[in-house]
Amino acid sequence: MQLTVNGSPTPLADGATVADLVAERGGGHDRVAVALNGDVVPRSSWPATRLSPGDTVEVLAPTAGG
């Protein structure tokens, strides 16, 4: 299936969950936050939250900032 992850078209296996996506795209960060179609997905819900074709996902991590 085709999703938009961090602004880029991204193919993902059917039935993939948010946890699967973070494992693939999390970059080793242990403090990642995920927004799915404009809503926060709490970490505890990642394994049970299945992604759907056309979903828009933001995978965010800490960085320096004022």
Partner: protein, 270 residues
């Protein structure tokens, strides 16, 4: 009592001058931003030299974010994290970013930024107040980056914000405090802590903020982009402490003409 007995007693007394935000007490009145820091080593040196206990951080797409070790450095320094909503332009974006930051950093504290103009990065007052109300209702400890407008400051405090953080001048400009009168008025207008945020260029700006009655100073670029960030962090620490002491000591009134400090009585007729 001799002078030698008095001096250390006063020094010890002045060293304990804490302030509180959202029920948390801090002995350092300097908040440090991490934006613009050239390396993690410099970050650690600057944080330690500053004596800060509260440090701002941000969230970005994972591929653009800095290495995970930044948080290890900050953990090692024992500072509390204050996530920001930098880059948000609407209340909706800022509220979502704050909720994401709560997930990522495990804190419900947020430096709320809602920017209304890309060139000046000035706050959007309408969106800011809207976002502040939503986040307070959601249980956040909200520290809004705002203009130096005392009326808006009061509205933010009335909305339940834990502090009000007016700019001295635009973010990263180093122009100092352009309207000291407004900062003093804002200090009078609210009972929550006032943190001078943005525009600090050098140590005298930070000292002025404290002399105007601000409870603390938040700065980033002035330290992280200085030629020697560690030394500037130490300068800011001294300036904040000096300005605070001067406020508490009570400055002399300004006069148009001179007032001799040496008595005229007993002046010899030469």
């Amino acid at each position: 009592m001799t002078t030698s007995e008095l001096a250390p007693a006063l020094g010890q007394q002045e060293a304990a001058d804490p302030f509180s935000i959202g029920g948390e007490t801090f002995s350092s009145r300097l908040l440090l931003g991490t934006g613009g820091v050239p390396s993690l080593e410099v970050l650690e040196r600057a944080v330690r030299a500053s004596g800060t206990q509260l440090v701002t951080v941000a969230l970005r797409r994972v591929e653009a974010s800095s290495s995970a070790s930044m948080l290890e450095v900050l953990d090692r320094c024992g500072v509390r994290l204050l996530p920001n909503t930098a880059g948000c332009r609407t209340a909706r974006e800022a509220v979502l970013t704050a909720r994401l930051a709560r997930e990522a950093f495990g804190t419900s504290w947020v430096k709320l930024e809602v920017i209304g103009d890309e060139h000046t990065l000035l706050p959007d007052a309408v969106e800011l107040l809207d976002a502040a109300e939503q986040l307070v209702a959601d249980g956040f400890t909200v520290l809004p980056y705002t203009t130096d407008d005392p009326v808006l400051g009061r509205r933010l405090a009335d909305a339940g914000c834990a502090a009000v953080m007016p700019l001295g001048s635009p973010i990263g400009s180093g122009l100092g405090i352009r309207n000291p009168h407004n900062i003093a008025l804002l200090r009078e207008a609210v009972s929550v802590p006032v943190v001078l945020d943005a525009g600090i260029g050098t140590a005298s700006d930070a000292a002025l903020a404290m002399e105007l009655g601000c409870d603390a100073v938040l700065l980033a670029s002035a330290v992280t982009r200085a030629r020697d960030p560690e030394r500037m962090a130490l300068a800011m620490r001294s300036a904040v402490e000096g300005g605070r002491l001067a406020l508490r000591a009570g400055r002399i009134p300004r006069r148009v003409h001179a007032q001799a400090s040496t008595p005229m009585l007993g002046l010899p007729d030469l």
